[in-house]
Amino acid sequence: MAERDDDTLLVGSELRKSFGPTPALDGAGLMVRRGEIVAVMGPSGSGKSTLLHCLAGIVAPDSGTVTFDGQDLAAMRDRDRSALRRGAFGFVFQFGQLVPELSCVENVALPMRLGGTRRKQAEAKALEWMARLEVDHLGGKRPGEVSGGQAQRVAIARALVTEPKVVFADEPTGALDSFNGEQVMRLLVDSARETGASVVLVTHEARVAAYSDREVVVRDGRTRQVELVS
C-alpha cells in the first residue's frame, strides 16, 4: 500500500464484505490522495464495484475501515454520512443513473437541490456544468430522449455540480463506443483536474485506465498496487 501523507484524502483498509459464502472483498485496501485519479482494474466479479461502494459509504463493510479526510465513515451518524455523500462525493455509473421523470437540467441540479439550494440557483449552476460538458442544449429533455454518450455527459455534470472532493466512477464508458468513450474520459479528467477533485475510476478497459495517475488491481477481493507514483 502506498505511503500515507498529508495529501491523503480517502483510505480504505483491510476491507471485507460477503454477500454469501464467498467474500466479495477479502482484505482490500486503497488510498487516494487529493486530486489524484486512481484506476481500479481487475476481472469481472473480482470486487471492484463492491470496493467502490464501500469507499463511498454506500455499502458498509463487514470489517475494515474507510476514512475520508481523517473521519471514520463507520463512526459517523447516518445523517452526516448522507450529507457527506451528497456534498463531498460525486457518482458516475455505467448507465441507469439519471432519474427518468426529471429533465436533464433537473437531474444535474438534483444533488444541489437535495443539499438545500434554491431551484433557480441550482439550475443555473447545473446549466453552467452542462455547458462545460457540451450538453446544455439538452437541458429540457428527459434522459430517455438523449443518446448514451449525451446521458453520460449529463451524469458527469451531475457528479461535478457540487464540486465534490471525490468522484466515484464505475465503468463510466462501459456503454459507449471508442469515440464517445474517449470524449467522456477527457471531459471527466479535465473537469476533475480543474476542480482538484480526486477520482476513483473503476474500469476493465486499459485505455480508460491510462487516464489515471496510478492503478490498483483487484483479484478475488484483494487489491494489489501495480505502480506507485514517485
Binding site: 478497459e205 486499459a206 485505455r207 505502480e227
Partner: protein, 168 residues
C-alpha cells in the same frame, strides 16, 4: 515521400522537414536517405527536377511528382497493408517458458502488464496535450497496447488451466 510531393514541388530539405513533422515521430529521416530515395524515384520516372536555385549542390534542386508518380501513389494508398498476425510473440514465449520451468507465470504477466500500462499512460498524456494528428498516432499505439493487455488478462485467467499442460 512521393506522396508528399503530390502537394507541390519541394527541395530535399523541405521534404525531410515535412516528413519529420508528419510522420517522423520518434524516427526522423536521414538526409542521405532523402537523396538516395529521390534519385531512385528520378530513375524510375516518378519524380522530375523542377528548377534549380542558384548556388548548385543537390540541396538546391526542387523535385516535382510526375503523372506516373501520381498513379503510383494512388495505387499504393488503396493497397491494404497486410494485417499483422503477431503469431511470433516474445510475450507468449516467456509465458510458456515460465510454465515449462515451473516458475510463476503471473510474475511474467504482471511485469509486462505494468510496463504496458506505463506506456499507455505516457501516450495518453501526450495525446491530451497534442493536436489531432498526435491523437491519431497515439490512439493507434494505444489500441495495440490494449490488445496486448487483454491477452495478458485472458492468459492470467487461464494460468491454472495452462499450468497442467506444460509441466512434466
Amino acid at each position: 515521400m512521393l506522396g508528399l510531393l503530390e502537394t507541390g514541388p519541394r527541395h530535399g530539405y523541405d521534404l525531410k522537414r515535412v516528413y519529420d513533422e508528419r510522420f517522423g515521430q520518434d524516427r526522423p529521416l536521414a538526409y542521405g536517405q532523402v537523396y538516395s530515395t529521390l534519385s531512385r524515384l528520378l530513375r524510375n520516372g516518378l519524380v522530375e527536377e523542377s528548377g534549380v536555385e542558384p548556388g548548385g549542390g543537390p540541396e538546391r534542386k526542387r523535385y516535382a511528382i510526375t503523372d506516373a508518380g501520381v498513379t503510383d501513389v494512388s495505387e499504393w494508398l488503396v493497397t491494404p497493408e497486410s494485417p499483422q498476425t503477431y503469431l511470433q510473440s516474445a510475450m507468449y514465449t516467456k509465458v510458456v517458458l515460465a510454465l515449462m520451468s515451473g516458475r510463476d507465470a503471473n510474475e511474467v504477466l504482471d511485469a509486462q502488464r505494468t510496463a504496458h500500462l506505463k506506456s499507455m499512460r505516457e501516450l495518453t498524456s501526450r495525446k491530451q496535450g497534442g493536436d489531432l494528428t498526435d491523437q491519431l498516432i497515439c490512439d493507434h499505439a494505444l489500441f495495440h497496447l490494449e490488445a496486448d493487455l487483454r491477452w495478458l488478462e485472458l492468459t492470467a485467467a487461464r494460468l491454472s488451466e495452462l499450468g497442467g499442460q506444460f509441466t512434466g
